[in-house]
């Protein structure tokens, strides 16, 4: 078991004190349900911008992107430079005026205003399920990490961590979550920056990393630059570690999944809705895009480095032995520092092999190769390079990422539950204090369901792949609905509802009829019969999203053409062609949304070109 020093525990304790202190300090400002759920729409743009990015900076980002960095190399940056930035620019420039301007309190409520009640209900229910699932994944990763590094009981860990998140949201509502997300943002950036520096220093800088990954690439059957060039090998799925060709990547990730998540997911949109003005709301995702562009260097590089650093280059040169507790039901591994490697299992760099939870032996794929536990890439880097003190900072940064992700989901869940389900269908017309109390109750319930979901999440290895699958089912068709609803006044409520159902069914059908290479029939797909096989799980996910979006888009148009549209005067402020164009005069020209968008897009193009 890794032994932490008193200074490491002191750093964690300091963090918990401040996190809970923020919640306690904000409690007196929460007087109405709008204070609790929407921060009274009073937060400045730079705060909502950092919260916007931090709410997404959960386990799937830090652990999942580190894992993907080790698995796919720099091509993981596509999740940022293609899979996030264009969508963030789009929502800031074109969609936020309708979200914020309509005074909707949630994304499902916008759907009610634009379409009808049944479309809102469908979205609210599916979103609520998705948030608690995501929250559970965050919690699972946190519990596993605490067990892994500190030897805490898995069960106790998730209850303690969930308890802290519950406490600060219960006290201060969305404002508390947002303030803590900003603190967590800085903690994650400042906690991981020295890790990247020390890691690069150990391998001889970027050029050293390129050289070492070239050896790894050729050893695994790829061209030397396959792990360090993001676009050059995307011509065919078999020539890059991601197992996806450029069209599937651009359409599946860059368009459908990315726009489906960033433009319609209430978890992030809620942060912008808390902004203190329309201009601030529009600037929120654009301000968030600046750090988002640079996050690949913070979260992907540690994973890439973990694959090639020498096991004798860091703080704990004696090696790590990964053992598995045979009594655990959730297969958390434990890590033991020792003077010799007793498992004898092969690994790459410091990424350990994935072990069978029952036998403790390394798992092997169909070809007999050892399966690496990529989710441990970033935690292993922390243990490898950080001495006491900085290790406490790094571990606390990891905890912060889990907490911010979980808190984002819980605050979105309590709002959708209270406004879109409880107030709409169970108890309309109650006093505001009743909904405020219900919001706090929903926070407790959301955390409790998240804990249950954490145990479900325990059966997946790469968290990011799983989340993309969930997003493909729920979010991919949703963007077609929003795009048509906001930009085509002819779109009807019946069409939106039918399109969403058809898109989700198409996603399930496509997933059920396809299977990634080497996977078994079941949760990975093929449960309706294997009609087609994809080179990788991500390729299957991207194409599932494309099928879902296209189905929803086509069905929505067709049904709209045969159903009666609403009168144009009912759609003012909800549809692009019927809403007066905004003029931003409140801020200087260089702070305006259009200026920020141009800068963000130019820098993104440059980054893609540099790592092409």
């Amino acid at each position: 078991m890794t032994t932490l020093g008193w200074v490491d525990y002191a750093v964690m304790l300091l963090y918990f004190v401040f996190v809970l202190g923020i919640g306690a300090a904000l409690r007196r400002y929460v007087r109405t349900s709008e204070d609790f759920f929407l921060s009274g729409r009073s937060i400045p743009a730079w705060v909502t911008g950092l919260a916007f990015i931090s709410a997404n900076l959960g386990a799937q980002e830090v652990i999942g992107m580190g894992a993907s960095g080790a698995k796919y190399g720099i091509a993981t940056s596509h999740f940022y430079w293609i899979g996030a930035i264009p969508a963030m620019v789009f929502i800031g420039l074109f969609m936020m005026p309708f979200y914020y301007g309509s005074r909707a309190r949630s994304v499902p409520e916008y759907l009610k205003l634009r379409f009808d009640e049944k479309t809102r209900a469908l979205n609210a229910v599916s979103f609520a399920i998705m948030t608690v699932f995501s929250s559970g994944i965050s919690l699972y990763a946190m519990g596993k990490l605490l067990h892994l590094l500190l030897g805490w009981s898995f069960d106790l860990s998730i209850f303690v961590a969930a308890g802290v998140v519950l406490a600060y949201i219960f006290l201060g509502g969305l404002t508390s979550a947002i303030y803590n997300e900003v603190l967590q943002f800085f903690l994650i950036v400042l906690g991981f920056a020295p890790l990247v520096f020390l890691g690069l220093r150990a391998v001889g800088g970027w050029s050293g990393l390129v050289a070492r990954l070239a050896d790894h690439a050729t050893a695994t059957g790829f061209a030397p630059g396959a792990y360090t060039r993001s676009w050059a090998f995307m011509g065919h799925a078999s020539t890059n570690p991601v197992g996806v060709e450029w069209f599937g990547l651009v359409m599946g990730l860059g368009f459908v999944l990315s726009f489906g998540y960033w433009c319609t997911d209430f978890l992030v949109v809620q942060r912008a809705m808390a902004a203190n003005s329309m201009t601030a709301a529009r600037r929120t995702p654009l301000i968030a895009a600046f750090p988002k562009m640079l996050f690949p260097f913070l979260v992907i590089l540690p994973g890439m480095l973990a694959l090639v650093v020498s096991p004798t280059s860091g703080v704990r040169q004696e090696g790590q032995v990964i053992t598995t507790s045979p009594t655990s039901t959730t297969s958390p591994t434990s890590i033991t520092s020792t003077t010799s490697t007793t498992s004898g299992a092969p690994s790459a760099g410091i990424v350990p092999p994935k072990l069978d939870p029952r036998t403790g032996a390394p798992l092997r794929d169909a070809a007999g190769g050892v399966v690496l536990d990529y989710d441990l890439a970033t935690p292993m880097m922390l243990l490898h390079f950080f001495p006491a003190g900085l290790l406490g900072l790094g571990l606390t940064a990891l905890l912060a990422s889990f907490m911010s992700g979980m808190a984002g989901n819980v605050t979105a869940f309590n709002t959708v539950w209270t406004y879109d389900l409880y107030q709409s269908y169970m108890r309309p017309g109650a006093p505001d204090t009743h909904y405020l109390a219900m919001g706090r109750f929903a926070t407790v319930a959301g955390v409790a369901i998240s804990i249950a979901a954490a145990y479900v999440a325990a059966s997946f290895n790469n968290i990011m792949d799983f989340l993309q699958l969930v997003f493909a089912f729920v979010n991919a068709p949703l963007f077609a609905t929003f795009a048509l609803g906001m930009f085509w006044k002819r779109t009807t409520g019946h069409a939106a509802f039918t399109g969403l159902v058809a898109g989700t069914l198409a996603a399930a059908l496509h997933h059920g009829l396809s299977l990634p290479a080497g996977a078994s029939v079941g949760v990975k797909g093929g449960y309706l019969g294997v009609v087609t096989t994809f080179p990788s799980e991500l390729a299957q996910t991207f194409w599932t999203a494309i099928v879902a979006w296209t189905t929803c888009f086509v069905v929505t148009i067709l049904v709209s053409l045969v159903t009666r549209p609403r009168a144009p005067e009912e759609l003012r402020g909800l549809v692009y062609g019927l809403t007066p164009k905004l003029v931003d005069t409140a801020v200087a020209w260089f702070q305006r949304p259009v200026t920020l968008a141009v800068v963000v897009l130019v820098v993104t193009v440059i980054l893609n070109a540099v790592f092409f």
């Binding site: 750093v11 923020i22 001495p387």
Partner: protein
Amino acid sequence: MSLDVRLPIGGFFSLLGLLLTGYGWATLGAPGASPTGLPIDLVWGVALFVFGVAMLGLARRARKPSKERLHK
């Protein structure tokens, strides 16, 4: 909202910076404290402290105009 978020952030990083700086200073030369050849706790502790103080300074500066308005 009346609480400036830069106050808790500045307070947290100032204390964290002091803690790491003090620990890094106290363990200078100790075995295992600078394994990568850099007194990283000390260096990063100072950086965090400077960041924390800067955040506190920004929060303080933002409060000044409102106080002046109150006195007018």
